[in-house]
Amino acid sequence: MTLPVQRPRSFLERLFIPEILRGLYITLQHGLHNLFHQDQPTVEYPDMRRVMPDRYKGAHRLTTRPDGKVKCVACMCCAQVCPARCITIEAGEDADEPIEKYPVQFQIDMLRCIYCGYCVEACPKDAIRMDTGIYEINSFTRQDMIHDKAYMTDLMDGKKPLAEKFYRDQPDQAPAGFDGTQDRVVSVDDSRGL
């Protein structure tokens, strides 16, 4: 149902033309400003990159213990909490480890992931993080969009966040407070959690 709302309009407003001219003036201002200043907020993406905030939820990675094994113990908390049901874990028994359980397989279907970060919140072992800053998550096949354990474990070695690399190369354009010498990604070897 629509209710007619009576707004008083002056004669000039009812003529429309002055109002149209006013509108035209506003858009022209924008157009000319942008023509001469070229200061649109657009980031010309593949050539320039925005550095992601620290809490940006990028691609998932699996953290490792000092011995290189994944911290994950296949407790399934993340798989349980995931609203997109995109985490598939197959648990197995690790005979040599004091921590008996480990994920034989750990897959996240990034096509279904909604980047809510619940999995990170749920993890009791700090085993999964989304702090890679990687937002270019793409592939040519659906299969490749399913990130597996090996991929997510090595993610930080093979692929540094692209934005960081860019600003390290162009330090003068880096946002204030960006420390190019330090990896924004927290070391994976800290003994937190275990």
């Binding site: 407790c75 908390c77 648990a91 028994e93 008996e100």
Partner: protein, 536 residues
């Protein structure tokens, strides 16, 4: 019967009932670890402490308070709450934070009660006492002493149920540690029950280890069909896949226990010998074509040369359907049943649960034979085959050819069953039947308890419940037994066979009902053929 008062609510219970059970009767849950209905009362966990209002003294443990007139307890006072909280704090003092890797999590009493009575803020200053983890104590068990709450259920089980007594609580105070005597392994047939009764994750099952988080599983009530005992079970499954089987309490059948063999029957669902497709002369094909061949074989047979063999491994419904098929659609066919195990059957026996008879439905078929005296037994069958009177045999899940050996050469066998056996290899037509966890049906155990199985997963491959196959076969032959669903089949069975009189699926419920005792005057077959209501 004494009347007791719990939280001000009066409840009348049989003498000798303890307060945990009495409270459960009116829907009040008293948390407990060490109490188990089928073990003696130990009273050592103190979780069930309650305030005694009248008829007793001080806070007392509910598991050891027997109902007597004038007894009144409260479980809702602040003091009870504080006591539970304190008990929890003690229990968890040295408890490892293993939940992420502990198979118990999701069905752990520590977790459950912690949510209700947890301390939440740790007051722990000293390092935890560590104990032995991941000990191999049996073929089916893993023991993690750190997780134990020293309830002694497992100790009592060993002492009182199996009588083997391998486990003990060693040391004292917070160094109390569950352990097994040196050099001993648990090797009885009831190991899985230890994992079940352990209220926490100290004893867990090796077979289920890390297979699945329990909260993903759906439970379906059923019974075990590995032997004639018919232990009540629940089938735990997810997405059409069974992950484990656990016993279900039925005081008339198995109390709370089951054997390790029964726990693994779900593996038969996908075992190599499983019949997933119909066969004609050994050639795998589709069910319709095989059914057609079976119909043609039966119709082409000379009258009087057709026999059907009831199966003691098949359900009441399937046997009833086959019996009706023989009476209605295959006029003149003789009906037989063979008692005793198939060749090559599992051979463990004991006096606790495992029965020598490995057929889950011997009593059900026997009830049919009591009703229809014309059903011949195994000797009659062997005789008839040897005489050459039988040219075609319709067999329901019974290794007939394995029993008869070469004598049966030249007999065309139509077989309905779940797994490969001596008969399948020589049968003319094989129709794949659904496994017990794949269908709705009833079985009658050695004590005559009629119990239901329920469909937990879809029938594998092309298999269908045997009663359904028989119904279709009957329809093709001209007269279907009328088993369009299991419930309808059972209703007709109970109407026709007095031993099942007045039983329905609803009445059977989760615990089953005993067979009706045989009437002094035998029912004639003719009476039942007229489909009138049996005499009450």
């Amino acid at each position: 019967m004494p009347t007791v008062k719990i939280n001000g609510i009066e409840v009348e219970v049989p003498a000798g009932t303890n307060m945990i059970e009495a409270a459960a009767k009116i829907g009040i849950e008293i948390p407990h670890y060490c109490y188990h209905p089928h073990l003696t009362v130990a009273g050592n966990c103190r979780m069930c402490l309650c305030d005694v209002e009248a008829g007793g003294r001080g806070p007392d443990i509910a598991c050891n308070m027997q109902a007597r007139d004038g007894l009144a307890i409260r479980t809702d006072t602040p003091r009870v709450k504080q006591m539970r909280k304190s008990v929890m704090e003690f229990l968890l003092k040295n408890h490892p934070l293993d939940c992420p890797i502990c198979d118990q999590s999701g069905e752990c009493r520590l977790q459950d009660y912690y949510m209700d009575y947890g301390q939440y803020e740790s007051r722990l200053a000293d390092p935890k006492v560590t104990k032995h983890k991941r000990q191999d104590i049996g073929d089916h068990l893993v023991l993690d002493a750190e997780r134990c709450v020293a309830c002694s259920r497992c100790v009592r089980f060993g002492d009182q149920i199996t009588g083997t007594g391998e486990l003990r609580l060693f040391n004292r105070t917070d160094h109390t540690e569950i352990g097994i005597f040196p050099g001993v392994r648990i090797d009885h047939d009831y190991q899985g029950n230890l994992a079940d009764i352990c209220p926490v994750g100290a004893i867990t099952s090796k077979d289920f280890r890390f297979q699945k988080r329990v909260w993903y599983l759906t439970d379906t009530d059923s019974i075990c069909t590995a032997c004639a005992t018919g232990c009540d079970i629940k089938v735990c499954h997810e997405r059409n896949q069974v992950f484990r089987i656990k016993p279900r309490r039925n005081d008339a059948v198995n109390q709370s226990w089951m054997c390790d063999h029964g726990r693994m029957i779900w593996q038969d669902l996908t075992s190599l010998g499983r019949l997933l497709q119909a066969r004609v002369e050994g050639q795998v094909g589709n069910t319709d074509a095989a059914m057609q061949t079976a119909v043609e074989t039966l119709q082409g047979a000379e009258p009087g040369t057709v026999g059907v063999v009831l199966g003691t491994q098949a359900s009441n419904e399937a046997n009833w359907a086959l019996w009706r098929l023989a009476k209605d659609a295959l006029k003149g066919a003789s009906v037989f049943w063979c008692q005793g195990n198939d060749p090559g059957a599992w051979d463990r026996v004991d006096d606790l649960l495992i029965d020598a008879d490995k057929n889950p439905n011997t009593e059900g078929v026997r009830a049919l034979t009591r009703h229809d005296a014309s059903i011949g037994d195994g000797a009659d069958l062997a005789h008839a085959v040897r005489e050459g009177n039988l040219k075609t045999l319709l067999v329901l899940q019974d290794d007939v050819l394995g029993r008869l050996g070469d004598a049966a050469d030249g007999v065309a066998v139509l077989y309905i069953g779940t797994h490969r056996n001596g008969t399948v290899d020589k049968a003319a037509v094989v129709l794949p039947a659904a496994h017990t966890v794949e269908q709705d049906a009833t079985y009658t155990n050695r004590r005559g308890q009629v119990q239901r199985v329920r469909r937990a997963v879809h029938p594998a491959g092309d298999s269908r419940p045997a009663w359904q196959l028989l119904d279709r076969l009957g329809a093709s032959l001209g007269k279907a037994p009328g088993a369009s669903t299991a419930a309808i089949a059972f209703k007709k069975l109970s109407a026709q066979v007095p031993a099942f009189a007045d039983m329905t699926y609803r009445a059977l419920g989760t615990q089953g009902l005993p067979l009706v005792a045989p009437q002094p005057e035998a029912q004639t077959d003719q009476a039942s053929q007229e489909h009138h209501e049996p005499a009450k």
